[in-house]
Subunit: 128 residues, 2 copies
């Protein structure tokens, strides 16, 4: 019936406290260049939404939405102060995750760049 050959192990790695769909959602949050740049910017220190807008150059609404997404996923934390909202990295393990992923990606950057199964050929620059 096509279940796991070793359900216990698989469950131990992905199903315990956070199901596969949830973990996938978690990864997908960092699968967008804009959100990843925002996170990198916040790894540099706490910043307001307007700071982020100035930094990555997307519309204010989009940046706000991306930050909220990162917050929902537990990557960053929001702090209100009057009209301003400051975001900062919520957990030191986020740094570990990014550093680890960067190292792995760097070791495979040639194959990654050539991978046309994600982003297709010559990654269309998503209209200016």
């Amino acid at each position: 019936m096509s279940e796991a050959a070793n359900p216990a192990l698989v469950s131990g790695l992905l199903g315990e406290g956070a199901d596969v769909g949830t973990v996938a959602k978690f990864f997908r949050a960092l699968g967008d260049p804009s959100r990843l740049r925002l996170l990198a910017f916040l790894l540099d220190g706490e910043h307001s939404v307007s700071d982020c807008v100035a930094h990555i150059g997307l519309s204010q609404g989009r940046v706000s939405s991306h930050l909220a997404c990162l917050a929902d996923c537990g990557y960053v934390q929001a702090r209100r102060e009057g009209r301003w909202c400051y975001y900062r990295v919520a957990d030191p393990r986020v740094v570990e995750l990014v550093v680890l992923a960067r190292a792995l990606a760097a070791d495979n950057r040639a194959a990654l760049a050539a991978c046309e199964r994600i982003d297709g050929p010559e990654a269309a620059p998503r209209r200016t």
Copy 2:
């Protein structure tokens, strides 16, 4: 002109050897439940494509494509043996990455589940 406020640090975390787009691509590979389940299955040990098909229940072509994607991104490694092709996890750091992500996701599973910015309300089960 809206560049990094601290280019050196940001560069050190994301731009050194693997640019933001590449790392995003890397994360996006694990942002799909099917690929994540495949990876979990392979963390259990080496398996052929047909094994994987039987395990996750998607079409053979789709599974083959997902495995090739994981291989391109450096998560898994292929080994040909006659007509069969066996895939296995390529790097022990992949386990670290998954375990770390699972832990973080588990600590935020409530917020993650509630996050409608990814997958929208009641995550449509992508036709059975």
